[in-house]
Subunit: 131 residues, 2 copies
């Protein structure tokens, strides 16, 4: 029964990185998709907060470390193939997206193009340092 | 304003493949994560049903083509970085997972290991041909 014994994230399937979805534990709203490596996974379990691996910064990324918008992990799920992680979280600050929206999925297809949906919770220029 | 003009999935960011999340449009339950290339995306728009790219079979995968459990697309969202797609779907047959569960995320972390959560909707051996 090989499938039933794959009860840990199989990071090798993603060459070390697996997608990790964050969903609001209360509302069910999809918040974002990040990536985790083994260390991010271990840190998420150890801290009870979402820790991702930032592909652009090439380092661990404790979500909220800059904005204060941490994600408190309420539940963790693994999919059938053990290659996708789902976190149900309490999103501190009410916004997961660095652009200030509650969800990173703030663009909705209207049949011919993507249009903005939803309102900003914060102004990114007031939260993040400019280079 | 380069970010505001990225209003299509940027498949180049994923070397041609982007993660595509399917969420039940009614209940908000996370169903699965697949991958799309440009052709899968085009086919999804053209058919109104979820079409993924199967990394294992290395071909387009019209979800439900074998099981009959198609996904009727109710809404499509794109994330801030234009590198993740979210489909809100009606899951025909009530089960997204090839293992017979409503959701592929049927393993929940109990603090020390993943344990099964949820009941099978169908018996995979009755739905899929065996090789």
């Amino acid at each position: 029964m090989p499938k039933e014994t794959r009860t840990v994230p199989d990071f090798a399937q993603g060459n070390g990185l697996l997608p990790a979805i964050a969903q609001d534990a209360e509302s069910g709203q999809l918040l974002m998709l990040g990536y985790m490596n083994q260390e991010a996974w271990d840190q998420t379990l150890a801290t009870g907060q979402a820790v991702y691996y930032s592909r652009s910064r090439k380092r661990l990324w404790h979500k909220g470390e800059e904005s204060g918008n941490f994600q408190i992990v309420k539940a963790i799920y693994l999919d059938c193939d053990a290659d996708t992680i789902l976190l149900k979280v309490e999103q501190i600050g009410g916004a997961a997206c660095h652009e200030g929206y509650p969800s990173c999925f703030f663009r909705k297809w209207n049949g011919s193009e993507f249009v903005l949906e939803g309102e900003r919770v914060f102004d990114p220029s007031q939260v993040y340092d400019k280079p």
